[in-house]
C-alpha cells in the first residue's frame, strides 16, 4: 500500500540517497543510452529488472515505497497479533496466527525486493526501529475489540488489495513479483475478516453492536489509506508516469467504495457516512467528505499507537540480537573448521 508523507516532511533515507548517488552528476553517454532504454521499457510496458540502468529518482522512489510497504506489513502484525492469545475460538486462533504470520512473510518478500535495489534489510530494519522510516498510518490505530479483527480484514486488507492488485503490474520486476505472491496469499485475509464480521452480525446483540462500532471506527481510516485527494498528491503523477502506480488515489478510493456498499448490505452493517448514495448518472456511489485533519494528525505521529508500535518492534529486534549473533558465530566457526579440515586433507595429499 502507499505510505504518505505529511506535507513538508519527506524523509531522505540515507541508503537510498547513497545508492542513487552512482547515477547523479553530469550525464554520461552511457546514462543517456540507459535512459533511452529505460524509457523504452516503460513505454512498451516491459519490466525493469535490478541490473538495468534506471534514473536515480526512480530507484529512490522504489526503495522508499517498497521498504515502507515492507515496514507496514511488519508493524501491521501488531494490532492483530494483540488478539492471538485471546481469539474466541480455536479456529479463529489458528486463522489469526496464520494471517499474522503471512504478514511477516509479506514483509520479508518486500524487503527482498527492495534489497535488489541496493539497500540491505539490516539497514531498512535500522531505519524502522529508530523511527526514521514511515509505514502506513492505519497501523497506528488501536484494536480494542475482537470485531477489529474483522474490520481490519474486511476494510483495511480490502483497501490494501485494491491498492496492491495494480501493483502486481508495477514496472519494477521484483516489486511486481513480490506483489503477485502477496495478493494470492492476501485473498484469504479479506475473506476471513468479512466472515468474522458476518458471524458477529449473525450473533447476539452484543456481538452485532461490537461489529457496528468497529466498522464505525475503521471505515474512514480505510478510505484514507488510498492517500490524499489527487489534487493534493503531487508525487502520484511521477509514479504513474513510471508505471509504478497505475491508478490515481481517487480512482482507487471510488472503486473501493463501490465494492464495499453491496458487501456492507450482505453483512447488515451501516457504513458511517450519511452522504453515501448511488449516483445514477455516474454509476458510482457518491460519498461524503473525509476528515483529513485526523489523517494528518496520525501521520505526524499523534495517533494512538505511533510510539508504541516502533518501540515494540525495536524490543523484538533487540531481544533477538543475541540469537542472531549466536547463529552467525556458529556459522563462522563451522566454516572455519571446514576450511581447516580441507587444508589438513590437502597437506596429507601433498605429503
Amino acid at each position: 500500500m502507499d505510505v504518505f508523507e505529511a506535507p513538508g516532511t519527506a524523509p531522505e533515507s540515507a541508503a537510498a540517497t547513497q545508492t542513487a548517488a552512482a547515477s547523479t552528476g553530469a550525464p554520461t553517454a552511457e546514462d543517456e543510452q540507459g535512459l533511452a532504454r529505460f524509457l523504452e521499457l516503460i513505454e512498451s510496458d516491459a519490466r525493469v529488472e535490478p541490473t538495468d540502468w534506471m534514473p536515480a529518482a526512480y530507484r529512490k522512489t522504489l526503495v522508499r515505497q517498497i521498504s515502507q510497504h515492507a515496514h507496514s506489513e511488519i508493524i501491521g502484525m501488531q494490532p492483530e497479533g494483540n488478539w492471538i492469545t485471546r481469539a474466541p475460538s480455536l479456529k479463529r486462533k489458528a486463522i489469526l496466527m496464520a494471517k499474522v504470520q503471512d504478514e511477516a512473510g509479506h514483509g520479508l518478500y518486500l524487503y527482498s525486493a527492495a534489497q535488489t535495489l541496493g539497500t540491505d534489510r539490516d539497514t531498512m530494519f535500522e531505519q524502522l526501529i529508530t523511527g526514521k522510516a514511515k509505514y502506513s498510518s492505519i497501523f497506528n490505530y488501536l484494536t480494542p475489540t475482537w470485531a477489529d479483527m474483522g474490520s481490519i480484514g474486511w476494510l483495511v486488507d480490502g483497501a490494501a488489495i485494491c491498492n496492491q492488485v495494480p501493483l502486481c503490474r508495477a514496472s519494477y520486476g521484483p516489486y511486481g513479483r513480490a506483489m503477485v505472491r502477496i495478493c494470492k496469499e492476501e485473498s484469504f485475509h479479506q475473506r476471513q475478516g468479512f466472515e468474522i464480521l458476518l458471524s458477529l452480525m449473525n450473533g447476539t446483540d452484543a456481538q452485532r453492536q461490537m461489529a457496528q462500532e468497529s466498522v464505525n471506527r475503521w471505515y474512514a481510516p480505510a478510505l484514507m489509506m488510498f492517500g490524499p485527494p489527487d489534487e493534493d498528491s503531487p508525487n502520484s503523477q511521477q509514479s504513474m508516469a513510471w508505471k509504478i502506480k497505475r491508478f490515481s488515489n481517487d480512482d482507487l478510493r471510488q472503486r473501493f467504495v463501490d465494492m464495499l456498499v453491496p458487501q456492507a448490505e450482505i453483512l447488515g452493517v451501516t457504513l458511517p457516512d450519511p452522504d453515501l448514495k448511488f449516483n445514477e448518472e455516474t454509476g458510482h456511489y457518491d460519498f461524503g467528505e473525509l476528515d483529513w485533519s485526523e489523517f494528518y494528525e496520525v501521520l505526524k505521529g499523534n495517533g494512538q499507537a505511533n510510539t508504541v508500535r516502533v518501540a515494540k518492534r525495536r524490543a523484538a529486534h533487540e531481544n533477538g540480537a543475541w540469537v542472531r549473533e549466536a547463529a552467525r558465530a556458529y556459522a563462522d566457526k563451522q566454516a572455519a573448521a571446514a576450511e581447516a579440515a580441507a587444508l589438513a586433507a590437502n597437506e596429507m595429499v601433498a605429503a
Binding site: 494470492k184 549473533e325 549466536a326
Partner: protein
Amino acid sequence: MSVKQRQAPTGIVTPELIEAEIEGGLVATEAVAQYALGLGDDALILAHRLGEWIANGPELEEDIALGNIGLDILGHARSLLTYAGSAWGKTEDDLAYFRSEPEFRCRQLFEQPIGDFGQTIARQLIASVYFDSLYRALMHSSDKTLAAIAAKATKEVDYHLDHSTQWLLRLGLGTDESAFRMQRGLDAMWPFVDELYRAEPVASGDFGAELAEGLEGIAVDPRALRAEFDAVVPQLVRDAGLTVPQTSAVRGGGRQGIHSEAFGPLLAEMQVLARQHPGASW
C-alpha cells in the same frame, strides 16, 4: 511465477473432518475421551505459548518458523479436543474456553512462560522428543481416530525436533552469551521432564479402574517412552557443549488438574473474550 495453492490431499485428518465424522455418529468412549483430553490440553497450551512469539521472534524468518510449529501443534490440539468432546457432546471450544483451571489436564511443562528464545528452544526440544516418540507409538493405536491424528502429527513433529536441535547447537556453540542463555533455559525446563513420562492417570487408575481397562491397545504408556528421551536428549545437550541439568523434578500433577503458577493468567487471557459472550459463535 507459479504459486500453486492446492487443497490438502484427502485423508489427512483435520478437526473439520473429525467433526464431520462425529456428526456421522463417531463417539469416543469415556476412557478414550479422557485420554485424548489430556493430550489435547498439552498441545493446546503449548500452541498458545508459541502464539505469543508471533511478531516477537528474533528474526522474521524465525517468526515464521515458530508460527508454523505453533499452527501444527494447534492443529493437533483441535483434532484431539474435538474427538474428546464427542463423548460429552462438547465442541473443541466448549473444552478450551469453558473449563476452569482444575479441569484442565495439561502437564506443567507446557504451561511455563516462553521466557527468552533459549528457554523456548529448551522446551521445544523436550516437547518434540516427547511428542515424537508418543505419536510414533500412537500411530499404531487400535483407535482409528487417534491413530490418524498421530500419523499426521508424527511427520510434523519430526520437523519440530529438527528445528529445536538445530537451534540447540547454534545457541550452545554460538557465543558465550547464547551458551549461558541456552543452559539457563534447559535448567529452567528440566524439572518438568519427569512429569511428561509419568503414567497417564487413566492407566494408573487415578480416574478409576474402568478407564484403564478401556485403554488397552489404544493409549501409549508414557513410561515406556522415557528410555528414548534418556538416550537422545542428554547426548544432544552434550553435543551442544552444554551440561545435562541435575535438577530435581517438580511434583507436577497436571493430569490431575494441579497446575503451575503461570497457568491461571494464561487461562484468564485465553478465555476472557469467549467467557464474556457465553453461547456466542464466532
